[in-house]
Amino acid sequence: MAVTTKLTWNEEACLINQLGNVSLSLLYKSSVHGYSMSDMLQRYTCEGPTITIYFSNSIVGFLMLERNHKQTIWFTLRKKKDIIEMPTLLLNTVLKTTTEELSFLSYCGETIFSVNLKAQLIFLNHMLNAKIRLPVNSCSRANISECEVFRVEGIKDNRGYLKRITEVTQYRNKLLSDLRAYKPYADLVSEIRILLLGPTGSGKSSFFNSVKSVFRGRPTQQAIVGSDSTTSITEQYRIYSIKDGVHRQYLPFMLCDTMGLHDSEGGGLCVDDIPHILKGCVPDRYQFDPCKPITSKHPTYIKSPSLKDRVHCVAYVLDINSIDNLSSTMVAKLKQIHKEVITCGIAHVVLLTKVNNYDEVLQVNFLNVNKSTTSQKQVMNVSKILGIPIFNILIIGNHTSKWESDPEEDILVLSALRQMLRVTDDFLEDLPKEETSNLTPLRSAHQ
């Protein structure tokens, strides 16, 4: 008589992952502890968040944060080929109990769900059935073979948890679709080139890896990341195209990675290389020399770059934890570079990396990034140093410690990318006529 869940290991794993990598403790099992309403209801007392699961021909369950909380998440778990699906639904409900029945009513009094443990019966109304896509598309009454109640541990006590759980992946996928479908302003170029610039160790290559991972659907490490902050890992200029993992096509933007900036004059990326990079004269895989900038005499120098060769957006990548410690030399370098960027008329943003509490940063509706929490001071500092408005200062999490994808982290990465593309469109729209009339015929470099 082992007291273990009836869920398969895969079903349990799906549930845990969907709820944000929580931990589940089985508290009640009807076949062991009795098909009694009072025994089951007792499990909701002083336990915090709980999940209740009913096993019949289908698995149906709900999550309550507290016994009398007015919102519940409803879900089913079902197998489709080798993958467990878990549709969810967030409902406003009123809990009603009698000696024999537990019911959830809508605010207008209609019964959405009820269970009679003694009779081993559950009832789901038409709406609930349809929303979580149970096989029967009507009011349905079903016999249950088991009821299990779990305590849920590990939920972060933040506002909007229930909404996040039910909507976060949907929003993430919408962002993905929008970015896949993005077309640069008036099709002036086929791909936007985004240049990542910043001090060594600020997370430039990590951001690239994050972007690539999101679109491919699995972890990637094409740009090598390391923790040797004393020297830059990246020494070459790299122009990375990113292939969409779903449609196997190249995405309409490229990320350009450079050697990092150093505090010392003779180290890191040479500031005199910047104008050449911005204008598109530096070829892919060019090996930087900290003491010797590229010249037009270099054999691979691109003498007459077209609009598509240029950098269209610059992202200054800064570790949010080191902004307060930027040396005066670094600040001077950044200002000098920024001056060149403005002179060249290139779109620009700041990307603050390694934000640890990004789940607090992301607002409940995912539509905006809230900078008024712990990152407020750093955001104001950067805005002041570089003269960049706050709405173009973007925030992402710390990528290097993740194995599983995290939809909220993905949303920050994708939102940052979307903002870069939006800012770039504004600049492309503002280009002088002579810039656009010189275009060579548009062709995708990867056809």
Partner: protein, 451 residues
């Protein structure tokens, strides 16, 4: 509200989330939060001691009430349970091996946990939880917050000879096996999915027929054992093709390119593992120049390395004009997880130099930590969720800090060494590591300039 479907494909992410929470710190106690006061270490020691169990918290006195009735309502008929008592400076308790049903308990184990040591004593108890004092038996009085311990038991547990002492908290856990039949079935299914994914894998862009994975590491790190383990998984039984020795000079002197057959259809698998001379101190072991030749594809199978003399273009085994298929597509640094803190200064410098040269060549790489099952406190059940284990996290962070590798590029396995039969749990770690290597090779191939 719109409904929505979420696909959870377990085969993609068998690893658990590696969070950045405070390592080794006790869980912060919040009022009304039903969480244990045990530190990770305390819980692990207890779980291992009582038979590699998993603890599920059922009752917490400060939340559910200091009352026998409240405890019984939540803890009866839950199977074996363990009660943990927190006094001012002592963690003690009692383990009930049979299904606890309240009332008479035939056999209990009373224990005291001090630092990392457990003292224990078997006993009987007529009433484990009482609201009155009983002078003859071990019992816990929740109402008064006192534990009564008979003198002979107190003596054996090295407790002061008073009859009873007070406590501040009482927690009761259900004890479950960490690996049960249900979990085994899920693991076997996952293992089979991974096997299939590896068999049908095609290198990115079909640029080569087989991906070449180079294993590098200090002598004794487990490179040859990893090869044997991979072969065993695909073969269906434990293999010992690559010689594994215990002597410090290392048994692999030749460069070997090991191809493996798919047991199902006899075709070659889409990857090969390349084994080489181990890295040694200073001028011993594989020299850096040879590594660069290996990476670029100049070295033929079975070339015999010489620590003092790197391969030259005049050697008969030298491939002058290597093609993409001759190159290494993913490099793997292999370390014994227990030796991370003992790498010498010279070895660390050598590894960093090799890594730096690899980066210049555009060679992508991962780290493989072996022998995770021999770590202190790690049991077989931990392998299922190995990246969540605190000691493993500490090792991974040590590699990240000391050698500079990215945390997400550090893999953990337990090789087959003395076993005769396969274990799905180990298979999954091995296959997951292999899959990461193949993905890394794909990244390399996608980025390789076609000239």
């Amino acid at each position: 509200m719109k409904g929505r479907i979420v696909f959870y494909d377990r085969t993609y992410y068998p690893f658990s989330k590696f969070d950045g929470k405070c390592v080794g710190c006790p869980t912060r106690l919040r009022s009304m939060a039903v969480t244990t006061r045990l530190t990770w270490l305390q819980k692990k020691i207890l779980q291992n001691h009582f038979g590699d169990k998993k603890f599920s918290l059922l009752y917490k006195a400060s939340v559910h009430g200091f009352s026998t009735q409240d405890l019984h309502n939540r803890c009866c008929n839950q199977g074996p349970i363990i009660t943990v008592i927190y006094s001012e400076n002592v963690v003690s308790g009692v383990y009930v091996e049979e299904n606890y049903q309240g009332g008479t308990t035939d056999s209990i184990i009373i224990f005291v946990l001090r630092e990392t040591e457990i003292s224990e004593c078997k006993a009987n108890s007529y009433n484990l939880f009482v609201n009155y004092n009983d002078n003859a038996q071990y019992c816990i009085n929740l109402q008064s917050g006192n534990v009564l311990i008979p003198p002979q038991i107190a003596k054996r547990l090295e407790l002061p000879p008073g009859h009873q002492y007070s406590f501040q908290e009482c927690e009761v856990f259900r004890c479950e096996d960490t690996v049960d039949e249900r979990k085994i079935q899920g693991l076997i299914q996952l293992r089979d999915q991974l096997l299939l994914a590896m068999r049908v894998y095609k290198p990115s862009g079909n640029l080569v027929n087989q991906v070449k994975i180079l294993l590098l590491g200090p002598i004794g790190a487990g490179k040859s054992s990893f090869f044997n383990s991979v072969k065993s998984v695909f073969q269906g039984y434990v293999s010992h093709q690559a010689l594994v020795g215990d002597d410090t000079t290392g048994t692999s002197k030749n460069y070997r390119v090991y191809s493996m057959k798919d047991r199902i259809n006899g075709a070659s698998l889409p990857f090969v593992l390349c084994d080489s001379l181990g890295l040694g101190e200073d001028e011993e072991g594989l020299c850096v120049e040879d590594i660069l030749s290996l990476i670029k594809g100049h070295v033929s199978d079975r070339y015999q390395f010489n620590s003092m003399k790197p391969i030259t273009s005049s050697d008969v085994k030298y491939i002058k004009y290597p093609q993409l298929k001759d190159r290494i597509h993913c490099a793997v640094f292999v370390f014994d997880i227990n030796s991370i803190e003992h790498l010498s200064y010279g070895m660390v410098a050598k590894i960093k130099r090799i890594r730096r040269e690899m980066i210049k060549c555009g060679m992508l790489h991962v780290v493989l930590l072996t022998h995770v099952d021999s770590m202190k406190l790690i049991t077989r059940g931990d392998l299922i969720d190995i990246y969540s284990c605190v000691p493993v996290k500490l090792k991974i962070n040590a590699v990240h800090r000391n050698l500079g590798f990215s945390v997400s590029d550090i893999l953990v396995v337990s090789n087959y060494s003395s076993e005769w039969e396969l274990d799905a749990i180990k298979d999954i770690l091995i296959l997951s590591a292999l899959r990461k290597m193949l993905w890394t090779a794909d990244d390399f191939l996608e980025d390789f300039p076609l000239e």
